[in-house]
């Protein structure tokens, strides 16, 4: 009889393992996973590395200028939508930087400015229309409350932009990828205060870790229903 049972035992064991694993699904795609998007053709090939990249001590003409992301992308901290800096912003600096005035990209830039025409930038990080990501919340949390470096915080989703010329999507930006961060690193508790009863555990993706003190609770909140992102 045992001869006959070997295969079923194997199979059932497999079934159990699969069911447990499947139901657990505690391993969503990793936060750090890279998933390169296509190279997007922009009207002007904006060099992020030149603006935000690190100083090159040996040759200042080559390195970046370490401009804070938020200097140009100023809307992100005030709105759900990051938007794109107005043309005015580019001109504001470049009208006084004579040294690069004749470079083709800058010439192109001034062409738009003179015509008072907005530059038709293409969206690089374009979520599906039914997904609503809130930049303001994330900046508040990481930069204002936790005081993390700006480039690190932005980089969670946008990748290492300071190394790029034209920005390119580096992260998957898929739901599982979002969830991986929200589940692993930012346990979910009830909103707005101390958990009541066991309610804190009610609405997360997964079982969250109870917050230790009231202050932490205020900060540590993630999406706790589908409507947070889809509406």
């Amino acid at each position: 009889m045992h001869r006959f049972l070997r295969l079923p035992i194997l199979l059932v064991g497999l079934f159990m393992a699969v069911s447990s694993y499947a139901a657990n699904n505690s391993q969503p795609a990793l936060t750090t996973e890279d998933s390169l998007g296509p190279q997007v053709q922009q009207p002007i090939e904006f060099p992020h590395n030149r603006h935000a990249g690190n100083h090159d001590a040996s040759d200042p003409a080559k390195g970046g200028m370490e401009i804070n992301c938020q200097y140009c992308h100023t809307y992100a901290r005030r709105s759900a939508v990051a938007g794109i800096p107005p043309l005015q912003k580019c001109i504001g600096c470049h009208q006084s930087i004579e040294s690069v005035r004749n470079k083709p990209r800058i010439v192109e830039l001034f062409k738009y400015w003179d015509a008072k025409k907005a530059i038709p930038w293409k969206k690089v990080h374009d979520l599906p229309d039914f997904v609503r990501f809130n930049h303001e919340r994330h900046i508040k949390r990481f930069i204002e409350q936790q005081d993390r470096p700006v480039q690190e915080a932005c980089g969670y989703c946008h990748g290492d932009v300071k190394e790029m010329t034209v920005a390119r999507r580096q992260k998957p930006l898929a739901m599982g990828w979002c969830a991986s961060c929200h589940e692993k690193d930012h346990p979910v508790t009830a909103e707005g205060g101390a958990p009541i009863g066991n309610q804190a555990y009610w609405y997360s993706f997964q079982k969250p870790v109870a917050a230790q003190d009231a202050a932490a609770v205020i900060k540590a909140r993630g999406p706790n229903d589908c409507w947070q992102c889809h509406k």
Binding site: G37, P38, V40, Q41, Y75, R78, S79, A80, V81, A82, G83, I84, P86, L87, Q88, Y112, W113, K116, K117, A118, I119, P120, W121, K122, K123, V124, H125, D126, L127, P128, D129, F130, N134, R169, P172, L173, A174
Partner: protein
């Protein structure tokens, strides 16, 4: 993100609205249309909304609110438009407004669809045979100048809807420069007879009604919740009135022959024989027994039995109403369009006003109105008598050049007037239009207007509420279509043709408006503030509130001149009264092409996208008619065919067809939906004022044998709840309202 706080962000930022709009230049037209279609990240396919220059408060993703004025009807509600990424998304009420206090009716909300309407006229069009040919503005202006050359002043007519503010002033100047006095201000639906009666009774055209102070409101066909005068304002008063004065919930009694929205909300809806509203008012005065002098003399004959016989209202109801009025004071009696729409409309209105005076309501719930201290800006109120005189002139071939603005008489003139034929007799017809409506289609030159959300202007509301106010209308976004112009700009350009020197200082209407406002800065409450601050604050608020002048009311009750015509026998060929229904959302049909309004069910019948004939179920049974039957409604003037809706809220001797539908122009959302009852209206005039008596048309109906499914929101169960507790009702003696929040 919507954020009520973003209004605050706007405040305190000095800015020049006009410049702002010019530099906004947004690219990226792709609007997220498909919420569920794509399921993946889409890189590089869409364009980001980007600006050339942006003020600090313009943040993508954050709505900014601008105050302006609703142009959907004459009530002049103040609105608050939500603007995001350079496009206006939604209109809300302006909470600072004395008129609508942050609220807005469906008609007002649909204003965005007036703006974004796909059927707007986009280029100046010159008639070429039966087609319109796009021409340039320069050519259009030149053409007008050419046509006006050598034409006498009295050969020119200017037809417009009700207008006020600086546009009225500017237009007046233009007409003066043409040497014409033929400015016909026409509104198809306006309480003109009541206004005249009010002048006689109270000394003012429209006193300030205080429903919120009244304990009983007795309304003779005044649809103040629907389409009468200033419905959003009255609705708010109504809410207060229902909550009650001194804990006493207000009682609404509505007397009319066809139920209006207000009637549907009444505690007691009394159906009267069409045209006998005044008789009932006199009957109530009789029962009250408090009248003295000639009034007592007048009402002596109107004992309850006779009144009941003439009006169809039972004696007990007359007595109950009188008792209630006696018991609960102050009350308010209103005369509405159902009372005034007869040849003896003035008499009806006068009798009703008399009741108010007998009850001593004048000064309590009827207050003296406030008016703006700039008479030249005061509203020119439209009426139908103007249409008659214009029509007579047109019929006589008197006019060589006719201008038309904000009126659609080809659609709204009674069929018996043959306005369309007469209009054709005019030599050169210019229409300033948003859409190619019926009248614009008859014009030789059509000049496209900016929408109300793109244009500058000022407006003085016809009905003033709390204190006087001037409403500011300002653009909420850039022009949608490059070649439309504001009416003010057009009038200014035309004026420059006549008096170039006088107006050369004004680059455009905006400059004129700003200049004119700043000129009177002191009177407008801006004394001691510098020009820019005043101007910016004015625009930010969207309202200029003024102290205004308050007139006095006559309180003397007199029965002088109040003689009712003898009781008329029914017309044997045309046995039924035709009552044109005026609905809150469609009014006279100028906004029928706004799809939200078309699809918004009529509150009483829940019918959408179509016209209907309301018949009382009893009458219908008598005639063998069921719902959905197509009947032919024939008057002496003509006939229309429409579906029947069995409606218990109508006198069995009357039928009602709503006005506003039945367009054969005005674009995809209006054309071909429903029938136009104006077409079959006889031209009977109110004796005293010369206004059209809208309710005097008599009709007969006959079945055509066709039947359709009535397109309505109501389900197969009709208006019944089938024993479920869904919309529940309770009578006042079973509850205690004083404990409520």
């Amino acid at each position: 993100m919507i954020d009520s706080d973003s209004v605050k962000q706007l405040a305190g930022h000095p800015f020049d609205r006009r410049d702002f709009l010019k530099v906004l230049g947004w690219s990226g037209t792709a609007v997220a249309l498909s919420g569920c279609g794509n399921t993946s990240i889409e890189d590089g396919r869409e364009t980001v909304v980007s600006y050339v220059e942006a003020s600090d408060y313009m943040v993508p993703g954050i709505g900014v609110y601008y105050n302006s004025t609703c142009a959907q009807c004459d009530a002049g509600c103040n609105i608050n438009g939500r603007v995001r990424e350079g496009r206006v998304l939604k209109l809300e009420g302006n909470p600072d407004s004395g008129i609508n206090k942050g609220k807005l009716c469906g008609l007002g909300q649909a204003g965005v669809q007036h703006h974004y309407n796909p059927d707007r006229v986009r280029e100046p069009l010159l008639r070429n045979g039966s087609k319109g040919e796009a021409i340039t503005w320069d050519k259009a202006y030149a053409l007008i100048a050419e046509k006006l050359a050598g034409v006498q002043g009295d050969e020119i007519a200017f037809l417009s809807g009700g207008m006020s503010g600086h546009l009225k002033v500017l237009l007046g100047n233009y007409l003066d420069s043409l040497g014409t006095r033929n400015h016909f201000v026409y509104e198809a639906i306006a309480p003109s007879v009541v206004r005249a009666a009010n002048v006689k009774a109270y000394g003012v055209e429209m006193p300030r009604y205080r429903l919120d102070k009244a304990k009983v409101v007795l309304s003779f066909g005044a649809d103040f919740l629907g389409a009468w005068v200033s419905p959003v304002h009255f609705s708010q008063q109504y809410a207060q009135f229902r909550k009650g004065v001194d804990g006493q919930r207000g009682v609404l009694i509505q007397v009319e022959s066809k139920m209006t929205l207000t009637g549907a909300n009444a505690d007691r809806w009394l159906v009267v024989k069409p045209g006998t509203e005044g008789v009932l008012a006199l009957g109530i005065i009789n029962v009250l027994g408090t009248a003295t002098g000639d009034v007592a003399e007048l009402v002596k004959g109107y004992d309850p039995v006779r009144v009941s016989r003439e009006t169809g209202v039972s004696v007990s109801h007359i007595e109950k109403v009188a008792a209630l009025l006696r018991m609960r004071s102050p009350s308010l009696v209103l005369a509405g369009s159902a009372a005034e729409g007869y040849a003896h409309g003035s008499q009806n209105a006068a009798a009703i006003n008399l009741l108010n005076q007998v009850l001593g309501n004048v000064g309590k719930t009827i207050e003296a109105p406030v008016s703006v201290p700039f008479p030249q800006m005061a509203p020119a109120k439209g009426n139908t008598a103007a249409l008659k005189s214009l029509n007579d002139g047109l019929a006589a071939g008197k006019y060589k050049v006719v201008f038309n603005f904000a009126a659609n008489p080809v659609f709204t003139a009674p069929g018996a007037m043959k306005f369309k034929d007469n209009f054709a007799k005019a030599g050169f017809k210019v229409a300033f239009a948003h859409y190619l409506d019926e009248t614009a289609l008859q014009a030789d030159l059509v000049l496209p207007l900016d929408s109300a959300l793109e244009d500058w202007g000022t407006q003085v509301p016809e009905y003033m509420t709390e204190g006087a106010q001037i409403n500011i209308q300002q653009p909420l976004m850039e022009r949608l279509h490059a070649n439309t112009r504001g009416m003010g700009d057009i009038v200014l350009a035309l004026l420059k043709q006549r008096k170039a020197d006088e107006y050369k200082g004004f680059e455009d209407y905006y400059a004129y408006l700003r200049g004119a406002m700043l000129q009177n800065k002191g009177a407008l409450g801006g004394g001691g503030v510098d020009d820019d601050t005043f101007w910016n604050e004015t625009l930010t608020r969207g309202i200029v509130k003024l102290a205004g002048a308050t007139g006095a009311l006559t309180t003397h009750a007199t029965a002088a001149g109040l003689v009712f015509p003898a009781h008329k026998e029914a017309d044997e060929h045309y046995p039924l009264h035709l009552i044109p229904g005026v609905t809150a959302s469609l009014r006279d049909g100028r906004h029928t092409n706004q799809p939200w309004l078309q699809e918004s069910p009529d509150p009483l019948t829940t019918i959408v996208w179509d016209s209907w004939v309301e018949i009382h179920p009893k009458k219908a049974t008598e005639l063998g008619i069921v719902e959905g039957d197509i009947v032919e409604v024939t008057s002496r003037t003509g006939s229309v065919k429409a579906q029947v809706y069995l409606f218990p809220g109508i006198h069995p001797e009357a039928v009602s067809i709503p006005v506003g539908r039945g367009h054969d122009a005005m674009g995809r959302y209006a054309k071909g939906y429903g029938v136009n009852p104006f077409q079959i209206m006889d031209t009977v005039f109110e004796a005293a004022t010369g206004e059209l008596a809208m309710h005097e048309t008599r009709v007969k109906i006959s079945k055509t044998g066709q039947r359709v499914l009535v397109v309505k929101d109501e389900g197969a169960a009709g208006a019944l709840q089938m024993g479920r507790k869904i919309a529940s009702r309770v009578s006042t003696d079973q509850i205690d309202l004083s404990k409520e929040v």
